[in-house]
């Protein structure tokens, strides 16, 4: 054990030295570009790979001077920021649902579909018009249907989404807009423009691994772009823009590995690494080896002497580090193909401290009930969570039926922000601050009624159902180790996305599943049928009336009955006079 600790110490020292080297090289060269790939073998046997690319642009943007010369920062995004006076922009495209129960917390969480939230600068006068224009421009940049964001799915959360960069002062939620499109399908056409924003494109460095045919052959895929202002130095006298591009992907190894638990860069991405992007000041691969200190679970090759420790999501993790800017990393074959070979096949189930789920109950097409379940798995500590629920207007919430129950007792929210919907104008917004008791399940239920839509408002396949976006649960989860609160400290990208204010807890955001709700759907040929039927009824009535009015009626000789006529025919044949 003592030897073990000694090794860690040495590694930490090594890490410290490398950090100093990095900061020095940053000052002399371009130095505004960091690339990172974290690979974490998950307990379920899947592999979680998380790419992060960070570009820092040292320019004073708050003074409103027109900046138009771009070097590493992509021009298209820079123009968007300056034209629409954006202070912070977060956009994510996700395919699949992150299974918190099996996989733990992701480094950057995102809901299924597309999510966009933007803080505008307080110089913007007409926020709604700017937001509309911004979504249209972004849908062009990312080839996504963000132009479907309108007032019926835009929210102004009052507490759940706070600025992540330096913002000092104005956190007036009038300047915040939040929207999700749970139905958005993410594919290659979204990945290509995303890759184009990287300074090296997909030509060099870690980005060569991003081959779309492999990335989309996975259990979970999420790509995001985050722009925010950050401090330029430790004193924070001047600020700069930070652009983070993150791509998270979970590969299912059971299906792709032919029951052999073996994994390599080549198998996963059908590429190996040969060089770092020459524009990047640091380019590293981290492999999570926390559960494998003595190589009893898996074997990593090639081995690296470099170890690093970081506190991420309230847990101290150990990583093997491969620095791509060093030639040594690529060895004699000038190519890096990381490989993990599992020894044991069993992984134990992970219990995340916080996770949540959501579903709809009820039968028929008139009413229903939304259930949101939040689990606190901490054995003895309770912690607060902020629940944000956005429900489209066509599900009419009965807010008086709102019930929050934990451990069989009513749990009174300490803060409720509820904004009722307006038909065809805005959705329901429900925000609650709740205290989750230790080791408990908290259930939030609310009943709703399904509205009838106008026939042009139905989607092309209305029987598929209508999506309701994920609930967002933001919380400060108690951490097991002390968190690093100094955000300007040099630390790996994956541990520095959410700024941390407190040592004893970490910020986590959990998204629930989106809901798929059936609405009463008419038969769409019905309007024409109704027209035909009513017209026929009117025509029949009108015809008989018309006949009554215009025809003249005369008394006619009564017709002889059928029997009599037949009798007459027979009588005529017999030559007898008719009756």
């Amino acid at each position: 054990m003592a030897a073990h600790r000694c090794r860690y110490l040495a590694c930490l020292l090594l890490l410290f030295l490398s950090v100093i080297l990095v900061t020095m090289s940053q000052e002399t060269t371009l130095g505004h570009e960091q690339h990172e790939l974290v690979i974490r073998p998950l307990h379920s046997g899947d592999i979680y790979a998380s790419f992060q690319f960070r570009t820092v642009w040292e320019t004073d943007f708050m003074k409103g001077n027109k900046v138009s010369h771009y070097r590493l920062f992509p021009k298209s995004l820079g123009q968007v920021i300056s034209k629409f006076s954006v202070r912070e922009l977060h956009i994510s495209f996700t395919q699949g649902y992150w299974r918190t129960m099996q996989w733990g917390q992701p480094f950057i969480p995102s809901p299924p579909g597309a999510e966009l939230w933007v803080w505008f600068q307080d110089s913007v006068t007409d926020v709604d018009a700017t937001w509309k224009e911004l979504t249209n421009v972004l849908s062009g940049i990312f080839c996504a249907s963000l132009n479907f964001i309108d007032s019926t799915n835009t929210l102004q959360p009052s507490a759940s989404f706070k600025p992540l960069g330096i913002g000092n002062g104005t956190t007036d939620h009038r300047f915040l807009r939040y929207a999700t499109l749970p139905r958005e399908i993410v594919c290659t056409e979204n990945l290509t423009p995303w890759k184009k924003l990287l300074p090296c494109g997909s030509k060099a460095g870690l980005a060569v691994l991003l081959k779309s045919e492999k990335l989309f052959h996975s259990s979970f895929h999420s790509q995001s772009v985050h722009i925010r202002p950050v401090c330029q130095d430790r004193q924070c006298k001047s600020s700069s823009w930070e652009l983070r591009q993150a791509l998270n992907v979970v590969f299912d190894l059971h299906t792709s590995g032919q029951s052999k638990r073996e994994w390599s860069l080549f198998k996963m991405f059908s590429r190996t690494l040969t060089e770092a992007c020459p524009l990047a000041s640091s380019s590293k691969i981290y492999i999570d080896v926390t559960d494998n200190p003595q190589e009893e679970q898996f074997e990593l090759s090639p081995a690296t002497p470099l170890l690093s420790q970081a506190v991420v999501l309230g847990d101290r993790r150990t990583f093997s580090v491969y620095d791509l800017t060093q030639q040594v990393t690529f060895g004699t074959v000038r190519s890096l193909n990381l490989m993990i070979r599992w020894k044991s096949s069993e992984g134990d189930m992970l219990r995340p401290l916080l996770h949540a789920e959501r579903y709809v109950t009820g039968y028929g097409l008139q009413t229903g009930e939304i259930h949101t379940l939040m689990y606190n798995n901490h054995p003895f500590r309770s912690f607060p969570v902020l629940l944000l629920d956005s429900v489209p207007w066509y599900l009419r919430l009965y807010i008086h039926t709102l019930k929050v129950i934990s451990k069989g007792k009513d749990n009174n929210p300490s803060y409720i922000h509820y904004q009722p919907s307006k038909d065809r104008e805005r959705p329901h917004l429900l925000e609650m601050l709740l205290q989750l008791p230790p080791h408990s399940v908290t259930e939030v239920t609310v009943q709703f009624e399904r509205a009838l839509l106008k026939w042009t408002e139905y989607t092309p396949d209305p029987n598929h159902g209508f999506y309701v976006g994920s609930s967002v649960i933001s919380s400060l989860v108690p951490s097991t180790v002390a968190m690093e609160t100094n955000i300007t400290m040099e630390q790996p990208l994956f541990s520095s996305f959410f700024p941390c204010k407190e040592e004893s807890s970490y910020f986590a955001r959990v998204y629930t599943e989106p809901l798929l709700v059936n609405l009463p759907t008419p038969d769409f040929s019905m309007p024409y049928n109704v027209i035909c039927l009513t017209c026929t009824v009117v025509a029949v009535g009108y015809g008989s009336l018309y006949n009554l009015l215009t025809r003249s009626f005369q008394v006619e000789e009564p017709n002889p009955g059928l029997a009599k006529r037949i009798a007459n025919v027979i009588r005529r044949m017999r030559g007898v006079p008719p009756l």
């Binding site: 060269t29 371009l30 138009s68 010369h69 771009y70 070097r71 590493l72 992509p74 021009k75 298209s76 123009q79 968007v80 300056s82 034209k83 421009v137 062009g140 940049i141 184009k196 300074p199 090296c200 494109g201 030509k203 060099a204 060089e275 020459p278 524009l279 024409y528 027209i531 035909c532 017209c535 026929t536 009117v538 025509a539 029949v540 009108y542 015809g543 018309y546 006949n547 009015l549 215009t550 025809r551 003249s552 009626f553 005369q554």
Partner: protein, 564 residues
């Protein structure tokens, strides 16, 4: 008795049928018409029809000033004098161009004499400009005697940086002639000067290309007119530095400073024409679309003029569109070839090196190849830091920008000396020429837009015309009329202003999305909805009306027969 009753019954039936038909026609049809009609605001169709026949009248003021020693005293007595030169061209059956130059002849003032006494033409030009500033669109020609040392030998005409020209006349031209004779001799020379300094017929017809179909004879003017960007209220200029090899070259360019020194003065001068915005970016790993061939004799890579057409497309995908505006983009690319493919030279069709090592693509932008191979030795350590010489680069880009904006640099006629354009990169008279042709181009484009919109709206009755579209159309029409009137009055600045307004308004009306709402409402669906109601209601009415008509005719015939 029975017969009478049946007759009155039939009469009643006929009356009922008639009254139902009357109700349907008087109430039903107008009601249906009112409730299903599409809203169509009033458009000034008659004025739009007038626009299809365009008579453009361009007029400009010219002053001809005679310096001391060019006129005899009795000739001087006849001055000042005004003449008008008129020309008329029918471009096609709907477009007529008329040019008027109002020429005022006068003698020079003492101050002007003093200015003309300066040692060089450039200084004289400057001090004449200080004396009086001639308005936009006009020009001044100073006539100086042969003995003057202002112009070098064998130069007849000097064209300055502003709106002045200096013309030298020979002694024999003026000897013993009346003023009228002298002016008649001078006239062709002044006309030649005006061809250079003011609007020329080729320019104006090129500007009309939107309206008038080209006769394929003039290939030269065609390439010229295709090169320049079409008129637009604004342009985005993007400078991109392409670095295909960031591992070997670390490039630094001072684009902010270079734009400030070289490009901004030029654009400030052009600001009456359009708004320009500038940005720049650096693209790494951006390759050209063709592989240059290695030439052993030269020891260099060669890019032939034939293959230049394929260079742009793969680069264009990386350039990115402008997210913030919809104005046309002028791209200027500086390509630094990678270390393995250096140096790289562009050769023209005659296999000669292009001295600037650059080329431009019509209505797109320019590309310059910047070789850095000779800036470092073979044992240099990669990546090499390289500072790009912006003066060299911007000189090339400025020339290309001039061409793309539409400034012609055709060689002047023999005996003419054109002053170098100086730090601004643009002489006043060049700007005037551009403003003339841009005004005409705007007017031509706007008239075609409005007339085709009116035609479209006239043809398709389903289109809804909202009030705002009608308003845009009428404002476009008024602005066209104003612009044409200002051109005729010789107020170039106002004419350009109105022509810009008209083009904005007409485009806005033409591309308004509300025009599309009901455009594709198909007729068969309409009938499918109408038929179930209309058919069973109208058929009995029509039948009984027919029956009544035939009965009336039969009775009429019977009456005739009785009369006979």
């Amino acid at each position: 008795m029975y017969f009478l009753a049946s007759l009155s019954e039939r009469r009643r039936g006929q009356l009922a049928a008639l009254s139902i038909a009357a109700v349907v026609i008087v109430v039903g049809v107008p009601l249906w018409w009112r409730t299903t009609e599409t809203y169509r605001a009033w458009l000034p169709f008659s004025q739009i029809k007038d626009l299809s026949k365009l008579q453009l009248h361009l007029s400009a003021d010219v002053e001809v000033v005679f310096a001391r020693g060019t006129l005899t005293p009795e000739q001087q007595k006849k001055l000042p004098l005004t003449q008008t030169q008129d020309e008329e061209h029918a471009v096609d059956e709907n477009t007529v161009l008329r040019y008027t130059h109002e020429i005022k002849y006068r003698t020079a003032t003492i101050m002007e004499e003093e200015a003309l006494g300066k040692p060089t033409a450039a200084e004289a030009d400057l001090s004449l400009h200080m004396l009086s500033e001639s308005p936009c669109g006009s020009s001044v020609v100073y006539v100086i005697p042969e003995v003057s040392s202002l112009l070098p030998e064998n130069v007849k005409v000097y064209i300055g940086q502003r709106r002045t020209a200096i013309l030298r006349i020979n002694a024999e031209m003026r000897a013993g002639k009346t003023v009228e004779q002298l002016l008649a001799v001078l006239k062709p020379q002044i006309k030649q000067v005006l061809q250079v300094m003011s609007f020329s017929h080729t320019d104006i017809t090129a500007a009309l290309s939107d309206r008038v179909r080209f006769n394929p004879g003039s290939k030269e003017s065609m390439t010229h007119s295709m090169r320049a960007f079409t008129s637009s209220p604004g342009y985005e200029i993007t400078f991109s530095l392409l670095n295909p090899d960031p591992r070997s070259h670390r490039l630094h360019w001072d684009i902010e400073g270079a734009v400030q020194t070289y490009i901004q003065p030029f654009l400030t001068k052009l600001s009456p024409l359009a708004n320009f915005s500038i940005d720049s970016q650096m693209l790494h790993y951006a390759m050209l679309g063709v592989n240059p061939r290695y030439n052993n004799d030269r020891g260099a890579f060669i890019l032939h003029a034939d293959s230049l057409a394929h260079v742009i497309n793969p680069v264009e995908a990386r350039l990115g569109s402008n997210a913030a505006s919809s104005n046309p983009v002028l791209n200027f690319l500086l390509y630094v070839p990678d270390a393995q493919h250096s140096p790289l030279y562009i050769q023209d069709h005659k296999k000669m090196d292009v001295p600037s090592n650059a080329f431009h693509s019509p209505r797109w932008g320019g590309i310059m190849v910047y070789n850095v191979k000779n800036l470092y030795g073979p044992e240099a350590e990669f990546p090499v830091n390289i500072n790009i010489n912006m003066a060299e680069v911007m000189g090339v880009f400025l020339t290309q920008l001039r061409l793309l904006v539409g400034m012609e640099s055709s060689p002047p006629p023999p005996g003419f000396l054109v002053a170098p354009c100086g730090s601004v990169g643009l002489a006043d008279w060049e700007l005037d020429r551009l403003m003339w042709s841009r005004s005409v181009e705007n007017i031509a484009t706007a008239t075609t837009t409005i007339t085709s919109l009116a035609q479209l709206l006239d043809q398709i009755g389903n289109i809804v015309i909202n009030d705002n579209i009608a308003q845009q159309v009428s404002s476009a029409v008024t602005s066209v009329q104003l612009a044409v009137a200002e051109l005729e009055a010789g107020n170039l600045g106002f004419a350009l202003q109105y022509s810009k307004e008209t083009i904005l308004a007409s485009e806005k009306a033409f591309f308004d999305p509300s025009l599309l709402h009901l455009l594709y409402f198909p007729d068969d669906q309409k009938f499918a909805i109408y038929i179930p109601l209309f058919l069973p209601m109208c058929v009995p009415i029509l039948l009984s009306l027919l029956k009544m008509a035939s009965e009336a005719r039969r009775r009429y015939r019977e009456k005739q027969a009785k009369k006979d």
